[in-house]
């Protein structure tokens, strides 16, 4: 659904911006892993595509609020960073498929890189409610880019932090620390969000440990609602066939081992409908 929300609060969280928006309807239907798309630039803007942002936090205040956490990348997120309390924001959501949650009280490792960590907190809440054990592994390039360390420590059994420059926690990437975190916590499942390269590496580790991994991917999106076909990635289906599927509609959450990370940005030759596979008419 589409909601004209009002910005309630804005804050800086280290390198990131956070906006809390009153968005009844969206907050109410939100499940961990959902995202929203935000119109940027105001009424007469030349920016015609919405920006996809995951929902970090949902609260029942004022009929329902959502909190968005983002980094400034280009003109759209720069405009968002200038929003102030009482400004209005045009949101569509909740979008995408949320994280599936286990029925049993299993051990879960939540791996987040950069702002990708934001989406893991509602997941942790839901897992804790089900009696699961939650352990966080959060990372970023430097200390100011590791999101949510304090909150993670309050919620989780253990929290491991990594930075590439060594300014906080272990030096290195989240995937360097992942094998020992999985071993130490006797993890049954991994939840991950971050850049595609991180998700690829996290999935490789989970496969090595033979445990399921759920990843939330990010791919450039024009619509977020499944109509434009721009956000596709190669994913292996239940039938073993690779299809170019929409990250916004079939995702953004996928089972990691089903995503052909090495082939993202290409059309694998064996994908359904790939050129040369009997559909040789270009267009």
């Amino acid at each position: 659904m589409q909601v004209t929300g009002t910005v309630l609060t804005t804050r800086r969280v280290d390198a990131y911006h956070a906006l809390t928006v009153v968005a009844p309807g969206i907050a109410e239907r939100h499940r961990p892993g959902h995202f929203v798309s935000v119109a940027v630039g105001g009424a007469r803007t030349s920016m015609i595509t919405r920006r996809a942002l995951t929902v970090h936090d949902v609260k029942p205040d004022y009929g329902g609020t959502v909190e968005l956490v983002f980094t400034v990348r280009g003109p759209g997120t720069a405009w968002l960073a200038e929003r102030r309390a009482r400004d209005t924001l045009d949101l569509v959501g909740p979008l995408g498929r949320p994280f599936p949650l286990p029925r049993d009280p299993v051990h879960c490792v939540l791996v987040g890189a950069e702002y990708g960590s934001a989406v893991l907190f509602p997941v942790a809440d839901a897992l804790l409610e089900r009696g699961c054990r939650v352990d966080f592994l959060l990372g970023g390039a430097g200390a100011e880019r590791v999101f949510g360390a304090m909150r993670a420590r309050r919620m989780a059994e253990t929290t491991t932090l990594t930075t590439e420059d060594g300014s906080l926690g272990l030096r290195g990437k989240v995937t360097d620390a992942l094998p020992s975190v999985i071993a130490d916590t006797r993890a049954d499942v991994v939840y991950a969000c971050g850049p595609m390269e991180t998700l690829r590496a996290v999935t490789a580790v989970a496969i090595e440990f033979d445990i399921p991994v759920q990843v939330a991917v990010e791919e450039a999106m024009a619509c977020g609602i499944g109509v434009c076909m721009t956000c596709v990635i190669p994913v292996i289906g239940d039938d073993g066939v690779t299809r170019m599927v929409r990250a916004c509609a079939e995702g953004p959450v996928f089972r990691g081992e089903r995503v052909r990370f090495e082939d993202v940005g290409t059309i694998p030759f064996d994908a359904l409908g790939a050129p040369g596979g009997g559909a040789r008419h270009a267009g």
Binding site: I48, M221, I225, V227, V264, G273, H281, A282, G283
Partner: protein
């Protein structure tokens, strides 16, 4: 007083002139989560091809000033899956459906038409001529009147007489009127314009083209003036031919421009990416604009901007009629 928004695509009546643009509403189901598809004048499908198609590699989109580039490459399920799953879903609900088809040869378009000829639920058939012609070194059919006409003549001869065949034209051609005329002479019942002109953007961080396919189709408000120009020129040359105006329509006022230029229906594409309810909003805004100017019927506004200079501005005329008791 409400305005009579009905319009005709050849002999097929649509309850209102606003349709989705081909390739911008996926299978229909996605938009149905937001609103009742019966409120559309018609839903246009993506261009259906014979075989399933995986499309182009990503990145497939890049935002540009007041527009975007796309290089999707007609990703779709192919005709079998379309007839099995997508069309019946629309047909069972009685949603007016313009089925778009795309092919690489005249034979492929013809085969698609044969497969669709007896399928229930095809309100009109739109032929996407912006596909590379395999038999002509990949030159798109829409570039050349004779190639476009060959496709249209074949498809027209196969489709049932009561299903209008619509030729969808591209704007980046030397003479759109000659292509339009060739299609009409070949039997097209209506024309749709414009498809995406080709554009390109370069990523100044990566120092490479922004799209994996290098070039892509430009859409959104940036192309509205191009669409208005094409509709204007074709309506001037072929005033009796129903036109679907498509390109950059974000508001009722944009749609009104295309109507005044000569379109009797209006397709909405990129606006849906920004606002899933765009078609309903545009229809409402268009009706308000017509009403404010004293129109009782949409049909009276079609092509009105072509009236000779010096003739009375219509709204003034209506105002004076209303003020005299």
């Amino acid at each position: 007083m409400s305005v009579d928004m009905r319009t005709f695509l050849a002999h097929v009546e649509l309850a209102n002139p606003i349709t989705t643009a081909a390739g911008c509403a996926s299978s229909g189901r996605e938009l149905a989560q937001f609103f009742d598809l019966h409120r559309l004048g018609a839903l246009a499908t993506r261009s259906i091809t014979m075989a399933p198609r995986a499309g182009r590699p990503t990145p497939r989109m890049a935002e540009t000033p007041s527009g975007m580039l796309n290089a999707v490459g007609l990703q779709g399920p192919g005709i079998d899956a379309f007839l099995e799953r997508e069309l019946p879903w629309l047909a069972q609900r009685g949603i007016r459906t313009i089925v778009s088809i795309g092919g690489g040869t005249v034979a492929e378009y013809s085969e698609l038409a044969r497969r669709l000829a007896d399928a229930p639920g095809v309100t009109a058939l739109e032929v996407n001529l912006s596909c590379p012609n395999i038999e002509d070194r990949g030159r798109v059919f829409a570039r050349e009147g004779s190639a476009a006409a060959e496709v249209i003549a074949s498809v027209r001869s196969i489709m049932r007489y009561d299903v209008p065949v619509v030729a969808k034209l591209a704007p980046d051609v030397a003479d759109i009127v000659s292509v339009a005329r060739a299609c009409v002479d070949a039997g097209a019942d209506a024309l749709s314009m414009i498809n995406n002109p080709l554009g390109m953007a370069i990523d100044t961080e990566a120092l490479r083209p922004a799209l994996a396919a290098v070039t892509g189709g430009l859409s959104g408000p940036a192309v509205l003036p191009l669409a208005v120009r094409c509709v204007w020129q074709v309506h001037a040359a072929l005033p009796g031919v129903p036109l679907i105006g498509v390109g950059g329509v974000m508001t009722g006022r944009d749609a009104f421009q295309l109507i005044l230029a000569g379109a009797c229906a209006v397709g909405v594409g990129t606006a849906l990416f920004h606002d899933p309810y765009a078609c309903l909003r545009i229809e409402r805004e268009l009706e308000d604009l017509l009403e404010a100017r004293g129109f009782q019927r949409l049909a009276d506004a079609v092509g009105l901007a072509h009236r000779p200079p010096g003739s009375a501005p219509r709204h003034l005329l209506v105002d004076s009629e209303e003020s005299s008791p």
